[in-house]
Subunit: 222 residues, 2 copies
């Protein structure tokens, strides 16, 4: 179970906190991007979007050289959010969102071991498109050295989940008959666009086609 520390104990809407590591892993694994929070040299917060992959209880983060040097051995916060729906309630006050979010806090470690660095890059590439690592040209030593990877332990993490219909159903019994409900939000991968430097009829590899097909969740509106 996730053991919330005072820092990861959710303070607001505690009923939305989940302590199941399976949920934490699922949120990190489903999200295509993450947001990495740092404190800059002047003490001001900086939040940068980047890409990640989880391997067991570590999350690897693709760092720009700037972010990586800012984050090295510093406290960081990695946040991942999956927006699942817009919750349109009767009262403005009860409006909300359905979502699953993970917040991981801790000291970022710059990955320097060549084997771990390569495995981390593989995890990130495979996270974004399974099967792509073996398809692509592996990084040479110069390319690896130019790609910063940060590692963050999942020891201090929290997950928050809100799902379901609007939270003010009692309004109906009180005579409020205006429409309320949820508008689902999904992320969809579209048909691959072949690089214009290739012949247009270059076949799309099966691992890419499969990944795009598998991404179709929910029912896009008519």
């Amino acid at each position: 179970m996730l053991s919330p520390t005072p820092r990861t104990q959710v303070r607001r809407k505690r009923d939305r906190q989940q302590s199941d590591p399976t949920t934490l892993h699922a949120v990190l694994d489903e999200a295509l991007i993450c947001h990495l929070g740092l404190v800059d040299a002047d003490g001001a917060p900086l939040v940068l979007p980047t890409m990640h992959a989880r391997v067991d209880d570590v999350v690897y983060v693709h760092g720009s050289s700037g972010a990586a040097s800012l984050a090295r051995d510093q406290e960081v916060c990695l946040t991942v959010t999956l927006l699942d729906g817009l919750v349109l309630a009767r009262s403005v006050f009860a409006h909300s969102a359905n979502y699953r979010s993970a917040v991981v806090r801790g000291r970022a470690r710059r990955v320097t071991d060549p084997d771990e660095h390569l495995r981390a890059l593989e995890a990130i590439v495979e996270h974004l498109t399974p099967g792509q690592w073996d398809h692509a040209k592996q990084p040479d030593r110069r390319e690896s050295a130019a790609t910063a990877v940060l590692a963050l332990d999942l020891g201090e993490a929290s997950v928050k989940v809100r799902q379901g219909p609007p939270g003010d159903p009692e309004a109906v019994a009180q005579g409020d008959d205006r429409w309320a409900g949820v508008v689902p939000v999904t992320t969809v991968l579209g048909p691959p666009r072949t690089c214009p430097a290739l012949p247009a009829d270059t076949p799309v590899p099966a691992h890419v086609t499969r990944w795009v097909r598998g991404s179709l969740r929910g029912d896009p509106a008519p």
Copy 2:
């Protein structure tokens, strides 16, 4: 034009920085969620997902009471990211993402004026579903007091955009004929689900139907 300060001058991949406020506004306006970065009482970064709306050159952020008290009169960083595609290059090193992201830095102001507070809530509700503010029950004084809103000036902001095919087309001329391309990523709103407390045949209001239809961008995969 946006005038990058030393803090918002993009350091990495400068060619991706755009200085057109129209792009900044468009990114903030299209994104359904944002990530707000704070520095907590111990000096550690904290990144929380929340919702926002832009009104002219101010972005209003829906703050939990905890985040709002942490952020009040403090430096914050609001980051919004629209993921547009997975860029599958030939070499792992050239893998990338197509995206549009905005980073806004500055001191957060807690909105206390009742008129501005109400207008900010209206902007946030309308941002997420146009037409919803007039449909819903307006907040009363108690509800307004319980909803924290932060305002952040757009004076110090940067936008980064990467679009287009993989960046290693020269590999083709060098005899590398493996497939490369872009997998588009889109966010799609699904058919509304009526609140189970209502009769199932309660008609979905036209502003919601219109919003869901209008959200269909890109071509979901077959």
